[in-house]
């Protein structure tokens, strides 16, 4: 028997809903992004994001049902991102999910946003366990060990800025418009590694720190300007990206070896970076680990990944009731 999950995601600036069959097959997805609006402000403005989610929520639902040619009655369960993220944004998705669950008497499945990013991989190929997941996005930088389906052990994460956040801040220094991450990636390909930047938090832990690296970029930019020199953007982008990919690869390798894991999953918006893909692919091929990147459309925030993760959570009996609330700092550990 087939199981259809309706996924709802609104943790940042994308209002998205999706229907996924058996956790693997995407029936239809709608993603309404607010990126153009937030670009005016150089970053996501939480209050604006939240206001726009409310304006769009029923429109996204209507478009989804039309595209899937399905009714909510035909769905088996409703999965929703309850955290982490911007609380005002999360609330809209959570409230919509609870309301639909109540009206149609469907089970409500709470999904952690990071679990969603990881399970984006299930939409394209079967996930093999045990695995290490490296989740890299504007809000997250985490190494997670998964012994089996839906078991999450966070083994490391950033102690300050998320990697995508560092990309965006460095992009601002280089006067690149928001979102700057993809632009840095493109510039880096044309530049050479000529600026002396530190390799941040180069130790034996699985944790990351990107705020010092970001400050070093700001300082170089400032000092060169003081001296009347202009910055070679391509080179600074390349130097910055090289440090980021080097430390991410190094610690991921350390995790793969220590946990004796032969599968690496990379997820989140920064997984789209060509520089990072190259560096990680090279590392994994050297140590004989198979590496999996979701397609671009599943790297950024979307509800298909929430419905996919929701399917596995649903099968394990995870349920929330009408009192479910948004949780800005929800932690991913154990099974939830």
């Amino acid at each position: 028997m087939n199981t259809y999950i309706l996924g709802i995601e609104s943790s940042c600036d994308e209002t998205s809903m999706s229907i996924v069959k058996n956790g693997r097959e995407e029936i239809a997805t709608i993603v309404l992004t607010q990126m153009d609006v937030h670009a005016h402000y150089g970053g996501v403005v939480p209050e604006i994001a939240s206001r726009m989610h409310i304006e769009n929520i029923t429109l996204v639902l209507e478009s989804l049902l039309q595209k899937a040619n399905m009714k909510v009655e035909e769905i088996d369960a409703i999965a929703v991102t309850y955290g982490p993220g911007l609380v005002g944004s999360l609330l809209v998705g959570v409230e919509a999910a609870k309301t639909l669950s109540y009206i149609y008497n469907k089970p409500l499945v709470p999904v952690h946003h990071i679990a969603g990013h990881i399970y984006a991989n299930a939409l394209e190929e079967e996930m093999k366990f045990p695995l290490i997941a490296l989740v890299v996005s504007g809000g997250h930088t985490e190494l997670i060990y998964m012994k089996e389906d839906y078991s999450f052990q966070k083994i490391g994460g950033t102690v300050d800025d998320a990697v995508g956040e560092a990309y965006d801040k460095v992009a601002r220094v280089l006067s690149l418009s928001y979102p700057g991450g993809p632009k840095i990636d493109a510039l880096a390909l044309q530049g050479k590694d000529s600026y002396p930047l530190p390799l941040p938090m180069n130790d034996s832990t699985y944790d990351f720190s990107f705020s010092g690296l970001k400050s070093a970029v700001i300082n170089i930019n400032h000092n060169e300007k003081q001296r009347g020199n202009s910055i070679i953007k391509e080179d600074l982008a390349c130097s910055f990206q090289n440090r980021v990919t080097k430390i991410l690869s190094k610690k991921t390798k350390h995790a793969l070896e220590s946990y004796h894991v032969k599968n690496l999953i990379v997820a989140g918006g920064v997984a789209a970076s060509r520089g990072l893909r190259e560096s990680l692919s090279k590392m994994t091929s050297e140590i004989g680990v198979s590496i999996h990147f979701p397609s671009m459309k599943y790297c950024t925030d979307n509800a298909a990944m929430i419905a996919a993760a929701g399917y596995f959570a649903y099968k394990l009996g995870h349920r929330a009731d009408l009192t479910l609330n948004a949780s800005a700092n929800a932690s991913l550990n154990g099974g939830k």
Partner: protein, 212 residues
């Protein structure tokens, strides 16, 4: 006709069910911090208490602001999803008009909500809930100077603010809202949104910088 009224515009949370002009259920809780954990549960309790189901509701009145941004988001999201899914009539109600259903003596009632930093959201209504001065975001001083001096005015609020010495606490009346608005044309649920009466600060700064 079964009516559902939701108010999450402040730290008060109100859920009411009515059949025609009879109140079936009225839940009011003060000092709510997390509207989201309470609202749907209270609707469920109200319905069950009256042996009704969610699909029996024919019209939703949703208090859509001004007021607490977070509170409004919970109530309005729930209401618009409900109206969209059940294909029922949805009518947004001003939070100030809703407060103006409180019984009072005198000519006019001025409902207000503390908007902090010396500002309030306020409007002026008569006994028939007609808006005499439109709802607005205004400084308390300006509001007081603006009010007609010759009339007898009653302030209604839920918290005291500096500059308004005497006020009565709001005692909202669902039946007044039903009587006044039951024949209103419903809104397209997609277009029902909170009426914040205040732009986001970042928007104001952007707007100002573009105009200078």
């Amino acid at each position: 006709m079964i009516y559902l009224l939701l108010d999450t515009s402040s730290t008060n949370l109100i859920v009411s069910l009515a059949m025609d002009d009879k109140i079936l259920y009225f839940y009011k809780c003060e000092d709510i911090i997390e509207h989201s954990t309470v609202l749907l549960k209270e609707i469920d309790i109200g319905l069950k208490h009256n042996k009704l189901s969610i699909s029996d509701i024919g019209t939703i009145f949703v208090v859509n602001g001004p007021g607490s941004f977070t509170g409004l988001r919970v109530g309005v999201t729930l209401a618009k999803v409900l109206a969209y899914a059940l294909k029922i009539k949805i009518i947004p109600i001003s939070s100030l008009e809703w407060m103006a259903t409180t019984e009072f003596n005198g000519d006019y009632i001025v409902p207000y909500i503390d908007a902090r930093r010396g500002y309030i959201y306020a409007g002026m209504y008569d006994k028939n809930l007609q808006s005499i001065i439109k709802d607005q975001y205004i400084s308390i001083t300006e509001c007081i100077n603006f009010l007609p001096k010759a009339s007898k005015i009653t302030f209604v609020g839920n918290t005291s603010v500096k500059g308004i010495e005497t006020f009565i606490k709001s005692e909202e009346n669902v039946i007044s809202i039903i009587k006044k608005h039951k024949s209103d044309e419903g809104m397209n649920p997609h277009l029902v949104n909170p009426n914040y009466l205040k732009r986001v600060e970042a928007e104001e700064r952007l707007h100002d910088s573009q105009n200078t």
